[in-house]
């Protein structure tokens, strides 16, 4: 139980750190060089306020189970066992990052913890989870796969195709819909027909449940049932977890987006903060004390601070890395094909 709290705290601290750093942002030098802590490049989609979903779901997964994530993937990574050091190093574009600095926040893949990838294309990761579930089934591995995605992703065709495939082949996959009410800066209800997103699973014969996404135990319980069904061959389940993102679509968006949600709305969700709520439960049930929680928060804040320090100090990738890793066996341009030729006569 404390571990769930700790993971949620870790995500919160990680995201708050990203937020702080981005707000003091200075941008890279003209040649792309970055040095100080204020130089986190790119833009990040924060999981602030949604922590209970990733943590609740991953709580019932085994280390070798698989997860496909989204553009808002830091929470999924941490909940599935990702290490904040190579994560932060990746966000800084360092060679020590999970993707050697080539991927960035939206392109992190960690096979050893079952992370199939964060993804910059909305809904594109969903079929990856289905395919992983297919391998689990065909290779008889007893593993399950989870696809995380948002309410906006529910309007992408590939979501429906993926549900059909998963249900048809009774694959061990759990569709976790993180409904935070927004697709970028537009309320999803302005984009979405019908009155239930969870209900979109029903025509495929996929059972669907709606849970309070700010209640980690409710999420965990729903996930437990879904995983149990999946593991014993009963096929997919969809879980719609209702939640909200404090930080909006991406950090630093105010300049571009203007005001698209009311302060009152944000405040009303803050009251239901998943970490505060779960902390209160832990204290109420005697699991720990306020200071116990405080200690965890501090430990996690320090862990993240160390990750930032080491990311700031880390080296960028060598420029020679630009053209490696396209293929396993060869580098582009180094195929045995570019010997200059001169005339023979």
């Amino acid at each position: 139980m404390l571990e769930l709290y700790r993971l949620m705290a870790r995500i919160r601290e990680f995201e708050e750190a990203c937020r702080r750093i981005q707000r003091t942002r200075t941008g890279p030098g003209p040649d792309g060089s970055v040095s100080s802590a204020g130089h986190m490049p790119g833009f990040v989609h924060l999981y602030l306020g949604e922590e209970a979903i990733a943590v609740g779901v991953c709580a019932v997964l085994r280390p070798d189970d698989l997860v496909a994530s989204t553009h808002r993937g830091h929470g999924h990574l941490i909940a599935k066992g990702g290490d904040v050091e190579p994560m932060m190093a990746e966000l800084y574009g360092r060679a020590a990052g999970y993707s050697k600095g080539k991927g960035g926040s939206m392109h992190i893949f960690v096979p050893e913890i079952g992370m199939l990838g964060t993804n910059g294309i909305v809904a594109a990761g969903i079929p990856h989870a289905v395919g992983a579930a297919l391998s689990c089934k065909l290779l008889g591995l007893g593993r399950v796969a989870v696809a995380f995605f948002g309410d906006g992703a529910c309007n992408q065709g590939v979501f429906f195709e993926s549900m059909n495939l998963a249900a048809l082949w009774a694959l061990p996959v759990i569709f976790v819909l993180e409904n935070n009410l927004y697709s970028e800066w537009t309320e999803s209800q302005r984009l979405t027909a019908g009155n239930s997103l969870a209900g979109r699973a029903l025509p495929f014969g996929i059972p669907a449940v709606v849970v309070d996404g700010n209640d980690v135990l409710a999420v965990r319980d729903a996930a437990w049932e879904a995983v149990a069904r999946a593991r014993c061959g009963q096929g997919p389940t969809l879980i719609e977890a209702r939640t909200y993102y404090y930080g909006g679509h991406f950090e630093g968006e105010e300049f571009f987006a203007g005001h698209y949600r009311s302060e009152a709305d944000v405040a009303s969700w803050r009251v239901r903060d998943p970490i505060v709520r779960f902390g209160r439960t832990l204290v109420d049930t005697g699991e720990t004390s306020d200071s116990g929680l405080e200690l965890i928060r501090r430990e996690e804040a320090e862990r993240v601070a160390r990750a930032v320090d080491s990311a700031v100090a880390a080296d960028p990738p060598a420029i020679s890395e630009l053209t490696t890793d396209v293929f396993a066996d060869t580098e582009p341009g180094t195929h045995p094909t570019v010997t200059p030729v001169t005339a023979t006569s």
Binding site: G32, S99, G101, G104, G120, W185
Partner: protein, 326 residues
Amino acid sequence: MFLSEAVAAGIATAMREDGTVFLFGEDVDRSVLGPTKGLVEEFGQERVRNTPISEQAVVGAMIGAAATGLRPVLDLMFGGFLYVAMDQVVNQLAHIGYMSGGRVRLPVVLMAGIGPSGQAGAQHSESPHAALMQAAGVKVVVPSTPADAKGLMIAAIRDPDPVAYLMDVSLAGSRGPVDLADAAVPLGRAAVRREGVHVTVAAMASAVPASLMAAEGLSASGIEVEVIDLRSLVPLDLDTVCNSIRKTRHLVIAETGRRTCGLGAEVAARVLECAWETLEAPPVRVAWPDVPVPFSPSLEFACIVTEGDVAEAVTRALGGRKPSAA
């Protein structure tokens, strides 16, 4: 005016003159990349419509709408998202004009931001211009100045055929004067941005300002570079390039996209077909290497086309030699 504002100004011009022009796209009211900002205030939510994240159906709907009297403009946001709707773009939008024996014309404008926009990672840094050039049936324009951004948009919306209007995201915040008279910049004509006698650099998008800066620098060492802004990739204005080569006899092509099967390959191959005798050295391509755009700032910088890359290519085109007086 900022280039992104000039895009919006071009759309506004077209929407004012023609009530059948409608604007669609995800968050097109607030505009993530800027080029449609402010339009909802003037034209309202009926004509400036936020769409669901359903690129296939939305591009498909543009086709049905254009076939029945609308002139839709669709902002796809980032160029990489176009691949999601590639069937509708290639097999449908591009090909219906031909497949119908000319019975159907589809006046659709597809907008997309191209190239890296400051460490957004590979999927938000694509430039699908070469894939669109390959498709046959979509015109492709790529403004590099605010004036062209507005004028080409007006021409694109008025055009009877599908036009892909690509905005280099790294130029969105660049400034320049804009024609207030709402004139179109005709499709299919390149612009000579700088005259020179030693080497021709044919460039697109942000490679144009990079080439102009390189030209400034090289001028100090006596190399006078002619810089051509191709700006319309389909149709491609080869005449302007060939006329320039007649003078310079050396060609560099600078492209904001991957090298293989890109714009540079095509321009090189076509120029050789019509100007073989004229060239004194092989055309040199400046482009991204064949990689997805990397995230890390230093790698991203190494990937893109910079002033230094163009300068180096010009020197290579001249065979390392200082040019003789031409």
